[in-house]
Symmetry: C2
Subunit: 373 residues, 2 copies
């Protein structure tokens, strides 16, 4: 595995050199993890010149640190410098070191680095020219390799298992908060490092809301129940949402709304192919909901990339620029919420594949039929 990280770093360095920088300082936590294999809290990665160096204030190999936890363990061949925490900011130490090694131009992640840290770096290394690396690492992360997709498959399977078990239990009378906590416990039971993001459970009027924070409302007969969860497996994050109806006979409006969101989600899934513009995927799903009169109720995007972060590039949104590639895992997650009544959200994690390989690979396989529980 060490080779993988070294290859990622040399690809980044090549890009920097082309852009006129001899080295890059990576400070975004997921970016550090992607390139180093592990990222203890607060660590930064200096890529080039010569040996790459991970600078930390927490020992990534100590048994109490993030090394054995969800933050991962740095690649064996990577040099690690442990700074006494009193010595301050690893980014500043990295700037000093780069300047000392004769670097003239250092590329930094201006979208992660605060103004105060940037200034502190300039003040310890006044002759070092700081350039913007931009989202170069985020872009490198979009297309996943086999190991990454394997981790996402397991993360998706864990979420499917947790959800499946919940559906077998009695739901009426239980609160959103407790259902969410139980799902998170089950994720861990099935081998997740933790929840990929706070589990959302919405009942009745709260159903179908994106990012709904669970409350003490209890599940009642006749409710829609929508659940959105994901597992973190080796740092990789799956995402799934399903909506159910509680009781034996869904109301007319529930069946109709479910069918509309389902049709939109299917259209989005079917649009996933290498070469398809991001916004075409959004268009495919959004069009269905607009035709049903829900245009105003659809969120700003209908999906996003998943990987080491929960909502990473690409965004599947009307204004997004770019095209899908093979081996890009994304969500397709449209939802509609009718104020005061509730709503439907259906969300899958899929990997974009060429048609010759059978089209998009569905990772979250829980049924999308409207189940009455």
């Amino acid at each position: 595995m060490s080779d993988v990280y070294a290859a990622r770093r040399s690809r980044l360095l090549e890009r920097c050199v082309t852009g006129g920088s001899e080295a890059a300082l990576v400070t975004g936590p997921a970016n550090v993890r992607y390139l180093a294999g592990g990222a203890p809290p607060g660590s930064v990665l200096l890529v080039g010149p010569g040996h790459d160096l991970l600078l930390c204030t927490v020992d990534p190999f100590a048994d109490h640190s993030a090394g054995t936890g969800p933050a991962g363990r740095p690649a064996e061949d990577l040099r690690v410098q442990l700074l006494p925490s009193a010595e301050g900011d690893p980014a500043v130490a990295a700037a000093e070191r780069a300047a000392g090694a004769g670097v003239e131009t250092l590329a930094v992640e201006e979208h992660h680095l605060t103004v105060a840290r940037h200034r502190a770096m300039r003040s310890v290394a006044p002759r070092l020219h700081l350039e913007d690396l931009g989202p170069a690492v985020e872009q490198q992360r979009i297309v996943k390799d086999g190991e990454e997709i394997a981790a996402l498959r397991i993360a998706a399977e864990i979420a499917d298992q947790a959800l499946g078990e919940l559906l077998e239990s009695i739901l009426v009378g239980r609160t959103e908060r407790h259902l969410a906590l139980e799902l998170e416990r089950r994720l861990v039971d099935h081998g997740a490092g933790g929840a990929a993001f706070p589990t959302s459970v919405g009942t009745g009027p709260h159903s179908g809301l994106a990012g709904h924070v669970p409350t003490d409302r209890r599940v009642e007969e006749g409710d829609f129940l929508s659940v959105c969860l994901g597992a973190d497996y080796r740092g990789y994050h799956s995402e799934i949402a399903r909506t159910f109806v509680i009781g034996t006979s869904p109301a007319e409006w529930q069946i109709e709304l479910y069918d509309q969101v389902f049709a939109a989600q299917r259209a989005g899934r079917e649009a996933l192919a290498p070469g398809t513009p991001y916004r075409e995927v959004d268009r495919a799903a959004r069009r269905v909901l607009e035709a049903a009169g829900h245009g105003e109720r659809v969120g700003p995007s209908i999906g996003h990339g998943v990987g080491l972060e929960n909502g990473e590039d690409p965004r599947l949104a009307p204004s997004a620029m770019g095209k899908l590639d093979a081996c890009v895992p994304v969500t397709v997650d449209p939802g509609v919420h009718l104020p005061g009544r509730g709503g439907v959200r259906i969300d899958d994690t899929l990997v974009v594949r060429p048609e010759a390989d059978g089209g998009p690979e569905l990772l979250t396989i829980t049924t999308k039929e409207l189940l009455a529980l």
Copy 2:
């Protein structure tokens, strides 16, 4: 309550005006919440000129948003501008608005704002001069008012309850992960919005480690078991750690180590008084552990402020500058870990009070006797 937030904002604005800025842009999430009453994800607060304005991309009053969740609800009298999420960064919109209102100098939180956002603000408002506000809001937050201390008292009580219930259950054979999840469920059962930070449970060789990420190791006879948890109640975060011994008879070394850490923690608690330099509190606790030969094993600080964030100002550390005030809630949390054997951590949340008021108020009241479970 609205008055409280308005008073906090006008105090900040006064400070800005003294420093030569006519307005301040607050972007640190806990700072926004402190001044606005609620901070939906990504929201920013423009304080002055004229009416203060909260700029959000998520509606803080919609029932699905953070408004009803742990992020709180903005004060009623505060003006709120909801930006379409496609319109981009609320900080950039705030810069445009400030420039449009005739502001010449805007104070910004350079320790929160990224270089990229700062540049985007300058590019939409090239004549607006951006000054550094520094940690002005963080400093304002150090001394708490009665409402804040009341919330912390409840947060501490909830953590005490969760911990007390765990101690009544069978522990041997259960994993660190499951104990941590159970504690977090109990926090919510007792009314917490959630855990204040990831609950840490360490058994045997993992005991006594600060921030240990729970593993699948099971509790065994003869183990030390150390637990660190906290509740989030209305945004305010308590913190408590206790260490127990599993089985009927602690070993000699366990009793000795426990006594040493307990003595250090007591010395730290007893040093809490208005006017005491932060580093004297650290010194008082650290001295005891140094005398016991554990100097190298003590962490970089022996306590920190608590409030809307978990580790906020002040830091009780050797190099910290400043003195305690009355009504400052802090932790006193020394610990010692012996590699391969385990260790002890004892942590309380207390509020600094003058001697005339009976000295420091202990919020986390779970016993600190060495319990054999």
